[in-house]
Amino acid sequence: MIVAKTGNEALAYAMKQINPDVVAAYPITPSTEIVQIFSNYVSDGEVDTEFVAVESEHSAMTACIGAAACGCRVMTATASQGLALMHEMLFIAAGLRLPIVMAVASRSLSSPLNIHGDHSDSVASRDSGWMQFFCETVQEGYDTLIQAVKIAERAYLPALVAIDGFILSHCQERIEIFDDRDVREFLGKPKPNYNLLDWRNPILVGPATLQDYYFEFKRSEIEGMNRALPIIEEVQEEFKKRFGRGYPVLEEYRCDDAEAVVLVMGSACGTCRVAVDHLRAKGKRVGMVKLRVFRPLVHPLLKKSLAKFKAVGVLDRVDAVNSYGGPLFTEVSSVLYDLPERPKLFSYVYGLGGREFAPEDATFVFEQVLSGKKDELVTYIGVR
């Protein structure tokens, strides 16, 4: 069925279809609506979910962990300061190998306060052991949230699905939604690793470990992430088979004979597509590489893809404040390091705090990358 929905509406609708066992959440712009809309489904009895309107994001993630440790299928949504407040608990969710799924409407971090979209929040959580998906469109957000449940439960890892704040969370798009029944059938029932409530077979979840075991636990968690990529691809295949739609982990757009490409995540992929089409019409050999999965870092795919080009511009909607460019830029630099011949790499930071990123901005980037010349280490697009 084709409907018009904002990103938040679409994610809330996906949550309804997923029908999670427990949702614990706390409001924050621009993700508030997701839970707000979802709580209507709870009030109207359209889902079986036990909904806990907690007093903070810290408790939201904690309650999710408590419920997931009981084998429940658990979800939440947040953004920005909320995700930052959860930070401590994100590591605990991952360390306990709990397949919690979280929708994030990405937003900048204070200070100064700003409610608009950039990737500061999600990217700041990149080392917490969560899988991270960045979506280009509302449709992709809807599809990915459903997939993420299955991926998380198969990989025994939590998953974060990000849509760009306001740009996707609040903009209406024409999307195709599936039947409730099909979604529920696709997901099946969760098969938890353990259930704390099984009191006849008591277990201890989250013990203290010292020098003699901590490393082994972490190593096995790391191994879990190492094995996530094939699981993601497998679930995407199943999704495609079932619903006729799919997204590669890494997509090359008009890259075949390209000399210069940009690597980009999130809604700016759409903007870059427009710029690519425009430049291609003028005979310029440019293309776009869209990165959909940020964690696990899909280094073999990145390496294989980017090695082909002469020059790559890496677009970050966040700065690492490290005096050396955006986080994706530095990661990609290290991924490409051991190639015998490396493409030239350019770092661009754009769109902080919701700053407009127009096709002209993308065109500027392409032209610079094509020229192979650049004065500054990092270019900040559109800063006055």
Binding site: D21, V22, A24, D48, T49, E50, V52, A53, V54, E55, S56, H58, S59, T62, A63, C64, I65, G66, A67, A68, A69, C70, G71, C72, E88, M89, I92, L96, L196, L197, D198, W199, R200, P202, I203, L204, V205, G206, P207, A208, T209, L210, Y213
Partner: protein
């Protein structure tokens, strides 16, 4: 009335072999609580702190009941998640058992960093028992002051020095904060009074909503007393009225223990190294008398609450 021989027949759900210091009141409290909880099936959560460290160092566990530990400030919110899962399973007919949930946290995890999560969980009326194992400081990180630390106590962040004689503020009244949440049951007790503790555990677990127990657990390391004196200090805390045994149930206050002879506060302070600096100097005597005044005032206030909101007078109207 609860009998010791009945409790003794119950299973030890907090087993020996944990790593608490000799004479640890906290270990004692947890053991007694799990004995008293039976035969109800319980699922438990705990905060980071001494309890977690001495009971859960992998690959060992002292817990014979399900236990989850997540972080320091999260005993209540973890329990809230567990309770939500339990409610979900009950609703869906996937669990029939009448399971009770108990959260354990120290005074630091309760009075300070975990207060928000506790308040939220109480307000949402999750049905669980929250136990504060109160040793009046952050013992696990090396005896730092908390807002449960009494006036004058020497801790590593309120050290007794040339100018300041230990902690300069009185402790916070967590019971009133909890009671203000309109809880189903709240009780204060300490480990010497095993019957009082056990019956409070049972009442709290059977209460129809959230319940709370504030249990004073002497800590030989932090209080600097002999391990053999833990129970004696626990009793002295009540006999000096420093630690009144009372409960709040259905809107009524009840004092559960009236010492035959109310002892002066010095009796409680003297055996403890954390108050040693107060003795033998004039400034120290002032702190002791301020502590005495505080204890008297609180004890008196409690009596007035009992008189105003007590059980006896309202009985006929039941």
């Amino acid at each position: 009335m609860l009998k010791l021989q009945d409790l003794a027949k119950n299973k030890e759900l907090f087993s020996s072999g944990h790593r608490a210091c000799a004479g640890c009141g906290e270990a004692l409290a947890v053991r007694q609580i799990l004995l008293a909880a039976q035969p109800r099936p319980v699922v438990t959560a705990m905060a980071t702190g001494c309890l977690e460290i001495f009971s859960s160092i992998y690959p060992h566990s002292a817990w014979q009941v399900p236990m989850i530990h997540t972080a320091f400030e999260t005993a209540a919110s973890t329990a809230a998640g567990v309770e939500a899962a339990y409610r979900f399973y009950r609703k869906m007919g996937r669990i029939e058992d009448d399971i009770r949930i108990i959260a354990f946290a120290g005074d630091g995890g309760t009075y300070d960093i975990g207060l928000q999560a506790l308040s939220g969980a109480l307000e949402r009326r999750h049905r669980f028992l929250y136990v504060c194992t109160n040793n009046e400081a952050y013992m696990n990180t090396g005896i730092q002051r908390s807002s449960a630390t009494p006036l004058g106590a020497d801790t590593t962040t309120s050290p007794a020095g040339r100018v300041l004689l230990g902690k300069v503020q009185h402790r916070k009244n967590i019971m009133e904060i909890v009671i203000a949440h309109d809880v189903a049951y709240a009780g204060q007790t300490t480990v010497f009074f095993w019957r009082d503790l056990a019956s409070k555990v049972q009442k709290a677990l059977d209460a129809p909503g959230p319940s709370f127990l504030n249990v004073l657990v002497p800590c030989p390391l932090g209080w600097r007393h002999q391990p053999s004196e833990t129970l004696k200090l626990s009793k002295l805390a009540a006999d000096t009225c420093y630690w009144p045994l009372y409960e709040f149930e259905n809107g009524r206050y009840k004092i559960n223990y009236e010492p035959q002879k109310k002892l002066p506060i010095e009796e409680f302070l003297k055996p403890q190294g954390r108050f040693r600096h107060l003795f033998g100097i004039e400034e120290g005597a002032k702190v002791i008398s301020e502590l005495q005044r505080f204890v008297d005032e609180q004890w008196d206030l409690l009596h007035r609450k009992q008189a105003l909101f007590g059980a006896s007078e309202n009985k006929d109207k039941d």
